[in-house]
Symmetry: D2
Subunit: 305 residues, 4 copies
């Protein structure tokens, strides 16, 4: 396995040249585009690492399924899905135009920004500080890493340049989907996106989802199984932006990408995978990371279909 991972990383590293590091958040633009790394954690607890697996990066959109899970635990399915739909969109992650034609104008799913900001606004807590602590606590728990924290530079950069997300949030406020303070919801969203991790952290998160919400080490139920299934279903139908359909065909594993170049994958009952490769393709996914997962899925027959 170790050898396989090493070979696949080397064989796919050249793809990094065809992608670009996200630059709409200036701080993200500083990442090294040539990097490619992977960590796999299996149900038996074995860990395999290859390439630039020790690179640090932020969760970005990879925070969406985690916060969705917490929001579902906080509010129940009915409340959450009154505010956000369950359907893939075929539009880019920051698109707003469907919102205008839909009646009710609720975001089509929790993986696009409009849906994710709405979900974040549903997190419980007596104030903004407590809400974020609950999110951070959840991420720490399911990644088995109590030292995780926010990358302040990225957070401030997001906050400063997040005009599209502001546009989305004010639109949602106007149509009554987003309740409460808009800037507070946005601040919380920018914070969740800025939590800093490594491949091993997100591989553990993948493992947690693959293991149906049960802590692999302690056997403790952290989240109800049926809620982790919901989250994994969204990862298949809309986890890879408007490339989700193609990824489902080529890889066939519930996954969620972020514009930092990270990808969390959860192979049901088998393994969690964490990938990093900051150079992105036009859809916003790690260009080499996707290729690496394609090869891996073929070699290990990981597709759930």
């Amino acid at each position: 396995m170790q050898l396989l991972l090493k070979r696949l990383v080397e064989q796919n590293r050249h793809y990094t040249k065809y992608g670009k590091v996200a630059n709409y958040i200036p701080e993200l633009g500083k990442m090294d585009p040539d990097k490619l790394g992977i960590v796999i954690v299996d149900t038996g607890g074995k860990i395999y690492r290859a390439g630039d697996y020790d690179l640090k990066f932020t969760l970005q959109s990879m925070s969406k399924p985690i916060v969705l899970l917490l929001a579902l635990m906080d509010n129940g399915e009915e409340t959450v899905f009154k505010k956000v739909g369950k359907e893939p969109t075929g539009d880019p992650f920051n698109s707003m135009r469907k919102l205008e034609t839909l009646s009710p104008p609720k975001p089509l799913n929790p993986m696009i920004n409009a849906g994710a900001i709405t979900v974040t606004s549903l997190i419980k807590g007596k104030d903004s500080k407590e809400k974020f602590e609950r999110i951070l606590d959840m991420v720490r728990k399911i990644s088995n890493n109590p030292r995780l924290n926010i990358n302040m530079d990225v957070y401030l950069s997001e906050k400063k340049t997040g005009d599209r997300n502001r546009a989305i949030a004010y639109f949602l406020k106007d149509v009554g989907i987003l309740e409460g303070d808009v800037e507070e919801a946005l601040d919380l969203y920018f914070k969740q996106c800025s939590i800093e991790v490594t491949c091993e952290d997100i591989a553990n998160i993948g493992m947690f989802l693959a293991n149906q919400g049960i802590d692999r080490k302690t056997g403790k139920v952290i989240a109800p199984k049926y809620l982790t299934q919901i989250v994994k279903t969204f990862m298949v139908t809309c986890g890879m932006y408007d490339e989700s359909g193609e990824f489902a065909i080529n890889v066939g594993v519930p996954s969620k990408s972020g514009v930092s170049g990270g990808i969390i994958s959860a192979v049901p009952n088998r393994m969690g995978i964490g990938v990093i490769g900051p150079a992105l393709n036009a859809k916003g996914n790690s260009i080499a990371g996707v290729k690496l997962l394609m090869d891996l899925s073929r070699e290990l027959k990981l597709s759930i279909f």
Copy 2:
């Protein structure tokens, strides 16, 4: 003429019952839906008044052609139309979806909110205060009413509930159309919308446009003729929201409506007309005001076509 106006007001007043006062800005919702009034100022300086002509109301979207004129005088055609287009849209005034599909994503025209906010951001001035004073000064000058001022209750109400306009403005900022501070541009926009007028004030504004930018009393050129023609053209192609085409057929006079229920009309070289009727139809235009203008246009053969 006096008798004609009186008859037409009475004969169209019952239409007010089929409309609704705008309520998305709470302060506007307090207007009396049964009112209907009109003032005509002709090139000879004669003034005719009928119905509830002394009602006070705010400019709202009627400020758009005025601020456009000032922005054109401040920046020239080229600069303004680099930021905003010249085409009617067929979409509601607060629609954003076209912005997403267009390349470049500039607002289609200066009469929809996205275009108007952009235009407002181009007004010159050393600070926010001076910019508004220049707008207010312009409105006072062309309405021949130096006492005009802001209605603070309406302004604060707009500012508090203007989430859709905020969404639009942050979107424009994100795509690079809106430069400078977003909240400042919005504040200026909310202020221009909140300038309080009567039918006579806006009839004078209509007269000023009908008179090609020349002050009727002093003969002084306040704005270049060709810029007032541009403004009147926009009033025909997109001055009445997504009812502009129908209004052009039925009335055929350059006009601009606002959600307060006011309508400014400029009959080239003949007269300026100011109408108020707070009850609106589904498109956001004064329901009885439009009917009144239809009758008036037919009686006086006002259509420019």
Copy 3:
């Protein structure tokens, strides 16, 4: 005047180089892109000609206002506008997407293809042959040219390659806007587009509209004045495809263009203008023809605004 026209043609001819002859209808693609011609007919009956004024070309979209007028005379306003709207769209002439989001799904105006095909289907006649004869008869009458006829090569070329129009027509049939046989309506539409004219013919048509529906020579009322006003209003708000707003600002005269490169203009109570220049800009209008009309409007102060 003669000299002015000659000068303006020569001074604008170089613009033909920046445009392209329409090639989606193969037969149209054979036109000479360097040509530019103009004819003006004034109310006094004087005729001025310059450039390639004797070039033959087909009506294409210039047939739309004429057939609209006939349909209004055949059916009355109410029936026609139950099937087709009065609003400009901001979309290209062959766009279908608005149809899908509108409720009812009626075409936004009679100048886009969807609206024009619908209007054509409303022409009265006991069979397909009589319907076309009535259209041709109308065109002959208002152009004062009883010898006008169809260009069979263009007609057959349109019919063979009109798949987008077929898509539009079947869509309209499906939603219940288009009644009767789809292929028959399309055939009639292709025929009206293929009527062959010269600049003088369309200048006469412009004159007829400028003259409010009255035959300049005989003084006979061919169409009711208010219907010709409706037609001219559409020519302003949507006569130049999605460049109508800009054209209204720059020229300010009710006009209708066709992809053959022709433009009909009607200056109310003053003159009719016919222009030909087969090289088109990106919006589908004669690139040099539009420039020529801009200069002419400025020189003769033709803008109605």
Copy 4:
């Protein structure tokens, strides 16, 4: 199992009252809305039947994954996916508007009508007759029912009323996606939709897909495994129209519905399921059939997530 199925059918039958039989194809409108039936075929060859399992109905959109599989076998992945995409849309199955905004304008996936008609046009055969025979032969083979045939009344009804599909096909022809004769492609498409089956037939088809393309009885490879995986992936991401996301969460099994009220489900390596329930919900899926599959999935833990 037999008892379970019986219980679930009875417990969900009342939902049929809340749905409506499709009536846009008149012949489909004649189906009995109260019916609900199911057949399960497992890998061991055991067959379980309950409710109105012997009802006859037509494949409709259930033909899409089958013809896609044949087209992939005929042309290879590359050729097929040059013409049609892999992404879910979030739009209704007969929507055309995305086609207009996409560049290239290829249908987003093979499960919406635009994509399916394109796929059908790629089926090989020396003439129209042979093409259909190859499709019918494929359906017969994978349903283990050599007696399957077309329902002529439904076919003629589809052909007569298929104006929306005609609009889609002519649009695809115009933009160069659909090659060859439009009416021939449509005729083939109407025929594939009109193949008449029972629940057992489609349960066998589900079984064939669950069994990775291998004939359960003979062990013969009818289609390559990786192509059946592609087909099943599409069934998850876009098999249930714009309710696919919700269905994936609630049932979690690759499935394809048709407006006849049928649903084919393929539980990888476990079973094929065929359901019929002609009363549809607003999205076009069998209203009671979906509920029945939800219960079944929960009882037997069928979700692949």
